[in-house]
Assembly symmetry: C2
């Protein structure tokens, strides 16, 4: 199934794709649907539906850095023995088609990523339990403010600007997508491809990450885990590249879809 939170003339609703149209699911959005733990029983066909941020209220948005060999190489680090994790809040997220607004003068970079959506509560889970708790996969771009990220040893302040991490447009269930078999994670800036990685190269695959995180904190339905970015970020280029006002960032994961967001620096 391909699920989303869609905007309709009557408000938002969780919805499932049915060919080229959408059918309502019984909750106002996917955060509410996953929290309610109800069957994804498609209801009425929606005449007018546009996907928006699928998960407006994850309790946790946990990110893994340094998870693709080519990106680890471009940062000059060694392959890590454990997942490098940092946190965002729900406020950091935004939807497909939204402008990403940041102040003029900051150094903005792209990081296309596969995101995992948690479907069941997990604590001290093993790999099999973690795999079974995956509700689906979606697309994210961990847009980063590099000068703020570099100000201190901790990346948080370069990673948690409000409404700067696009997520969506749809959540694809595991029966339709297998990142361990490989899906491609792609970033284009103004139509030029800058990143292309394959999730089968992840140092720490999705279920490994969820199980690891669940060692120290509870994951709940609707929580999101970003799995890291492949090589090709702007600061890895020679000379380093940054996003400019008006740049259009397309973030794609094959089999899921494309996020299109415009950078606005003012």
């Amino acid at each position: 199934m391909r699920a989303a939170t869609v905007i309709t003339p009557h408000g938002t609703t969780a919805a499932v794709q049915d060919g080229t149209t959408w059918r309502a699911l019984p909750a106002a959005d996917l955060s509410a649907l996953l929290a309610a733990d109800v069957a994804w029983q498609p209801g009425a066909r929606l005449a007018d539906a546009t996907p928006t941020l699928p998960l407006p209220r994850p309790g946790k948005v946990i990110c893994c850095g340094l998870n693709y060999g080519d990106h680890i190489a471009e940062t000059g680090r060694d392959t890590p023995s454990h997942p490098t994790l940092f946190a965002k809040y729900a406020d950091t997220l935004t939807g497909d088609g939204q402008d990403i607004r940041l102040p003029a003068g900051v150094e903005v970079d792209w990081e296309a990523e596969l995101a995992v959506v948690v479907g069941r509560e997990l604590r001290n889970a093993d790999q099999a339990q973690a795999r079974g708790a995956i509700a689906g996969y979606t697309v994210a771009n961990d847009i980063s403010v590099r000068d703020w990220q570099r100000r201190t040893p901790q990346w948080f302040q370069g990673k948690a600007w409000d409404a700067t991490t696009p997520l969506g447009p749809v959540v694809v269930t595991p029966d339709e997508l297998d990142p361990e078999a490989g899906v491609e994670v792609i970033c284009r800036v103004n139509g030029i491809e800058r990143q292309r990685g394959d999730t089968k190269a992840l140092v720490f695959p999705c279920a490994t990450l969820l199980a690891y995180v669940s060692t120290f904190t509870t994951l709940r339905p609707g929580d999101v885990l970003l799995t890291g970015t492949p090589g090709g970020v702007g600061i890895g280029m020679t000379p380093p590249a940054l996003l400019a006002d008006g740049d259009v960032v397309e973030t794609e994961v094959t089999g899921i879809g494309v996020l299109t967001n415009t950078i606005r620096l003012a």
Copy 2:
């Protein structure tokens, strides 16, 4: 005023201290009271009331590391030009009197801190706006799992174990407490004093921290900011000390109160 969330025979309620007793405030806890933005009008006297975690559901718990000169020195770092920030989630918090449960074998350390509670929404705030938005101050201990903290460059996985950061027992309003004039932050382990710092020595004072964070993300009523720990943490000792099963950690900020928590490693 000295406010808390208290457990009564009829459930929890926000409450304000009145001499040696408590009077109810019109919300189930301080998170709800601050979110509702109602006057703190004391109601009925409570015959049986015990303070618990004052803020059970902060949307954000943001921590500043490296904010006291003696602690910066014991970590071997230079005085930072910007606040070193990292994030926790509400799940990380626990209340006065609660056991802190962690698996046997991890390296557990103490970090007594003053915590600031946000009372009004802040975004792109200046210092005066940030100061005016402080609802109050409370006590925290950023109990840290050092081996996990050191596994990667990002501290999050050593700082975000569920129910390991005690917070409380009361929130003291700014008319009764002025950390810029100086309050002492103290940690005792099994009755032996290990930390004593003064908040007037903070590299980044409370209002500075709130204003800085509000540059990149919205702070809302009930959000919590931990302001860093003074010198004297276990890993700074010669030889380094760790908390053991059964150790009693007392965390005190003068003018606020004391948190007492027992470490349980199993």
